[in-house]
Amino acid sequence: MLDTGVTAWMLVSASLVLLMTPGLAFFYGGMVRGKSVLNMMMLSFGAMAVVGVIYVLWGWSMSYGASVGGFFGNPFDQFGLGGSFDPVAYLDDEETLFMPTIVDVGFQTTFAIITVALISGALAERIKFSSWLVFSGLWVTFSYFPLAHMVWGGGLLSSDGPFASIADPIDFAGGTVVHINAGVAALVLALIVGKRKGFGKEPIRPHNLPFVMLGAALLWFGWFGFNAGSAYGANDGAGLAWVNTTTATAAAILGWLLTERIRDGKATSLGAASGIVAGLVAITPAAGDVSPIGAIFVGAVAGVLSALAVGLKYKFGYDDSLDVVGVHLVAGLWGTLALGLVATGERGLFYGGGFNQLAVQAIIAIIAIAISAVVTLVLGLIIKLAMGWRVSAEAEERSIDLAEHGEAAYETIGARAVSEVK
């Protein structure tokens, strides 16, 4: 039977998660130089455009259609939301789920979009918009949909998979599918695409920190749809996920700022915004399966770990421009593993659950890393050979906004004295 309360909440949740991607565009856009902000934001908006179309064509079917060996759904099973797809069938594999499937399609579309957009932070200020759009379509098809199927669609990494005999794997809202997946892709692509001109030598400062904080605020707000929406109900489970999301995020801000205060002497606004995202990422897989006290632990550790991890790119010399690895991969891994420690209901080690949960969490994390690494490596190299990733050195130096989009974000004296209007 249709539960209008659940249906209404899931429509709101889907809308909230969709808002995260423009939020991410602000978060990323503020961190780049003023000459590159439009291109940076367009990478997020481009992901919305490409994935938003693909999802209804074969995305849903590859995630939730008839399973092919537990790896992915058959893309032709419910292609274009046709075939065996029934838009008014109610999800009822648990007693509380009473909403039309078409609402879930909307909800899931927004997850696929944000996951692709996250990767763009590693590629700031230097890639061709066309290459990005093609990559977005390929990567969501070969990395995101299969992982979504494996974890959420009843595939290999779900509670119906082979590892469930050790313990039921937990990924509440996307620690593996979204954050580890995007974080690994970011690392691989940063290596394939190469550094920005001047990386590590000349200062590349964030041009608009208020944009970064605005973006972080929008992400936090949208994340309530992401996590509390993933309870698939307007109930106590959603309430717990909501509280855990906020608690963990607040703790992560404190963790990040404390690390900065000790290491650098100052607690920064960029640190607060980054701590927000690290906390949100870490609690994502755990939001429905830890207590609020557990959430404080998950968030605080995530803030410290990510604040320490963002320096690694200088040490190893890869230009993960906006720290997708340091924030999403590190905090995503931590959140996924932390469930092995603090999952409630006698599952986590700290609650007397033994090592089984920790082991199964490590297994799903490693498999997610491997799948994303291999798929991204192949696709990244194909794009490199077929289209090339980089804009010309001159375009990069001058302004990628001008070279790729023919626009400038901010008015200058030169722009005001336009010589000819056609």
């Binding site: 400062r205 290491r263 650098d264 920064t268 960029l270 604040a307 720290d323």
Partner: protein, 113 residues
């Protein structure tokens, strides 16, 4: 004859300098934002743990055109108003100006001041 007095000062001293110029009878001035360094040098900023040394410090530049004989007194008024005694207070200099014209009327020389 006319002189151009240029002062590069601490941004927070602009109000004091403006008041001092008004008191000295100067009727117009041009202010622009400037960046630079002297002995003060810059400062450091940290973004996600990466430290940047910012050499150029924000300053305010004030330009006023004055009659020859008023120049030393007005320059002194600017110096007194802008002084904090700390490093980074800035510089004031005076240069001769060959001609000045008021655009609205076409007047030249001291009449244009």
């Amino acid at each position: 004859m006319t002189k151009l007095i240029t002062a590069v000062i601490q941004p927070h001293k602009l109000d004091d300098v403006k008041s001092a110029l008004e008191a000295a009878g100067v009727r117009g001035l041009t202010v622009s934002e400037a960046s630079g360094y002297g002995r003060q040098r810059g400062h450091t900023e940290v973004y996600r743990g990466a430290e940047y040394t910012v050499d150029l410090v924000p300053k305010v530049r004030v330009d006023v055109l004055v009659a020859d004989e008023d120049a030393p007194g007005i320059a002194q008024a600017v110096i007194t108003a802008a002084q904090t005694g700390k490093i980074g207070d800035g510089k004031v200099w005076i240069v001769p100006v060959e001609d000045v014209a008021r655009v609205r009327t076409g007047e030249h020389g001291d009449e244009a001041l």
